[in-house]
Subunit: 306 residues, 4 copies
């Protein structure tokens, strides 16, 4: 990695670190409230294999919704274009867990990154894989290179005990005919899927196949086709940040995905993947400092797809 | 322009031309129904100044909503970031002329490309320019290099006589406090602004400053800053095609903007601008064959920002 | 009128008068803000012709939306059941000037007492009467027995200058095909219709035909049939108080209609009509003290239809 | 019962019976589809204790949502006005199982007769009664005079297996903080409550306390106060028929409540209670022939509260 990139990251980190954090810890999953709110780290992985990190970039956190990109990739890999009869590819224009648009669109979620869409992806995987829960785990182990990666029971149980709105979403879609399996089984897999933990370094490594034409950096193995990778990137750009997706495209200009654990991953196709983590969230549910850091990075460099 | 690009355009044109056109002529502006529905043309302008066109690319048509990008550029040029207190930058998730979200968001349109947003931009220009109607015309004359470009009274009058929903939108926003001038004056300018006519060649030339870091191709004059150009490109990607913006990003992967006259302009930053025209529209109000052609172009090439 | 009724009214008036008025003057029609906010009067007219009033019951005020019942009666009188293809008879579940449900129901207003419904009634009257503005005035003159009753230009002009939301509503319905005349002409009539002024005595006399099987008290002349009167009463009960109609039925239990001028008229079929006036409005746009007084009246008596 | 009333009922029955039934059997609870669709019966109970029935008025059917009035009465009896902090009293303006308005009103159902409202009533009863399921059953046994009345496991199980939308509703309200108990427990009680079976005679007897000032006909025992009975009657009038409540008030003019089993109960305060049953439902989920019969009854008589 050339020193220029390292410098940009380091400068953006140092510039953002002292900013007063106006965000708030996620409270709707009780277990997430136990995190040290001042954690802050960032890690960039270039497609040439070099990488650079700073701050708490080696500390693990719950990646939450970021894993929705990985379950989508797995569904696309095995089922191709067929999945788009069950989910649309449009920004929702509303909160991540809204039921409103489901009612309007007869149970077809607006995109795979709102909760309803990710739940339908889980249903699809359960229908088409022998053991979706295990196969998804193997898939992420392979991408991340972490052989002992596991679901976090503590996080998953915490969400299972309080995730009434996701229960509502899944049963509502079921009532509209777009969930094929038992809602309880689908939800179990969904909560597990969101419970994965990684640090910034691992996260940027894991996502680098999307910056690399669908192929793993390490061994060049094709995970999904180049065209499929482009489409997932397009979806991250238009739908990756819930009701703030337009703002992220406008200010940062990179495809990305956030999670309520405070993580964000973003990528510049054919260039790099960057993962940032800071647990306190802005009003739209995205990491306050993570957004600031990425905005600083692309404002002070020419690293935007636009 | 290297022959490779010419070939891609020509092939895509020849591939798309014989496809059965499932679109329908716009009917809500009566004058638009008088157009020959089989017109079909495309023109690409590269940032190196070379260009290539085929089909009815020299025939003029009503660019309609495509001009919303130009009025936004003028507002950004003169007023900078201030305009974003009056308009948001998020995809709407609904039809282009929906009143629903205005009610939810207290008169702040979701983005400058839905009708309500473009109407607010007109209001802003009227407040801040001596003679907005004339200055906007001069601005587009300069960008397009067409010194005698003029508003089409025939088109504007046709829309004024039937544009009840836009009258509703403007008065509704006024009632919510986000229109400062007389609604009738704002609407007059809005209908004029949408009445401009160009051919594909002129349209691709006009928009090339957005593919060229904000600078005119011909003389390098900075129209807006590079950062402002990037942000307008980001907005076109997330919001340029109404309720089909996600689909366009997903399948074409370029920032673009469509109009109900059947025109679409799209651009690849630092590479090219492409304008296509075919009057019959799909269910979302975007040119049926225009969408097909652009999808073919980016599928058969590597020309996507993702 | 037996003294018992007089006593109930007088007691309710004296009980309600000293209550702290938590309401606020209507501000959206500037002229309405010039009223003395402490005015408070009530008048009851029995079907036996006797009547009783107290407080400012002889002071004129702008009856505003209360006149929507009278324009509906005129439309029903001349056109009968035909009007119900253009308007529904369901409570709206939303604010009186909401555009949302119009979008859902393709321009068919939910009922004739929300603004959109009253605007469609105006359109119907214009289509079917020689001179709707004059004929409506004659109709109300006859009902009220006030031969020199006139539209108030001051009130109508005040609303015309600021009624952007009603302009929006009318043009929106026009765009959906349910306004047949020029929106400007329809709105002129609508604003005039809402500008009528009466005092409580006159108002309770005017509405007494609805408590009297459709016939004028004075001379027994049939204005509308008994069945039509019942249906208008049913509509007042389910839809007469916008988003507070259920509450009024629940607490007062009489058909009624309110106006933003602070007037309320209510009636007990075959018994009496009661008009109350106090200008300050609660959060739902209904007279704060007027509601309190009527609640007191029916709580302390057995005068409810339930 | 005077013969006049008997005649009106008999005539209305004979007039309605041969009308082509445009309704359809409810399908969303599989067990309800096993009913003979041509069943048709009606029974009237006067407050003087006389009664009259015709057709299949002694055949039992699933009263479904009609029982929501009884659970409301029980809640009102024990908790009085306190329950109205948890539920509103406004017509919903939308379908009976809509989630939309819950989102708008923060988990406060619009009224106790939409599914969400009845679910909250169940939650309230569970919180305040020792054994809500049993006490509700005793309450209805007492009202109906059927000592061996029981929940129908067949019906309840059928709905439990398919009632995904009610599961969604309950969990959604829980997520908004307006369900205090375990959603699974609340839903169990809700499905049981809706599974009661009665015939028209029993149903009209059971509801006669609401036409009799809150007191049982048989022994005059006060079940709820006269004022409480009036308020429940008002609620039935404004909210008893989902999105067709206005229509029922308009055409029939009596407080009433329908169920998807095809039953309707309506009442004229201080006069009579009438129960009608015909299983095929109109597009709004109300008995097609039941509505027709009641409309005929009140059109051919003067039996309306308006």
């Amino acid at each position: 990695m050339d020193s220029n990139y390292n410098e940009i990251i380091e400068n953006a980190y140092n510039f953002t670190k002292p900013i007063k954090d106006k965000g708030k810890l996620a409270t709707y999953i009780p277990e997430l409230a136990n995190v040290n709110p001042s954690n802050f780290g960032v890690h960039m992985t270039k497609v040439d294999g070099t990488s650079f990190g700073i701050g708490d970039h080696l500390e693990k956190f719950s990646i939450q919704s970021i894993s929705k990109v990985l379950s989508l990739a797995l569904a696309v890999k095995f089922l191709g274009e067929d999945i788009w009869t069950r989910i649309d590819v449009e920004p929702s224009g509303t909160k991540f867990d809204s039921l409103l648009l489901l009612e309007t669109y007869n149970g077809i979620p607006r995109n795979p990154f709102v909760n309803s869409g990710a739940i339908v992806i889980c249903d699809i995987l359960i229908s088409h894989l022998e053991n979706a829960r295990q196969e998804f785990l193997e898939f992420v182990r392979d991408l991340s290179g972490i052989p002992d990666l596991n679901y976090s029971d503590k996080i998953a149980d915490s969400e299972k005990a309080t995730g009434f709105r996701n229960v509502a979403l899944c049963n509502f879609i079921k009532s509209l005919g777009n969930i094929k399996n038992d809602p309880a089984v689908v939800l179990d897999f969904y909560f597990d899927m969101c419970s994965l933990e990684m640090n910034c370094q691992q996260l940027s490594h894991t996502f680098s196949f999307l910056a690399n034409g669908g192929c793993k950096l390490k061994d060049g193995k094709e995970i999904i086709t180049s065209s499929q990778a482009k489409r997932i990137n397009a979806l991250m750009l238009t739908c990756g940040f819930y009701d703030e997706s337009g703002e992220f495209a406008f200010k940062v200009g990179l495809p990305g995905k956030s999670g309520v654990g405070g993580g964000i991953v973003a990528l510049y196709p054919n260039n790099f993947t960057i993962a940032v983590w800071s647990p306190k969230l802005n009003a739209n549910g995205n990491s306050y400092k993570g957004m600031k850091l990425l905005e600083t990075v692309t404002t002070h460099s020419e690293m935007s797809i636009f």
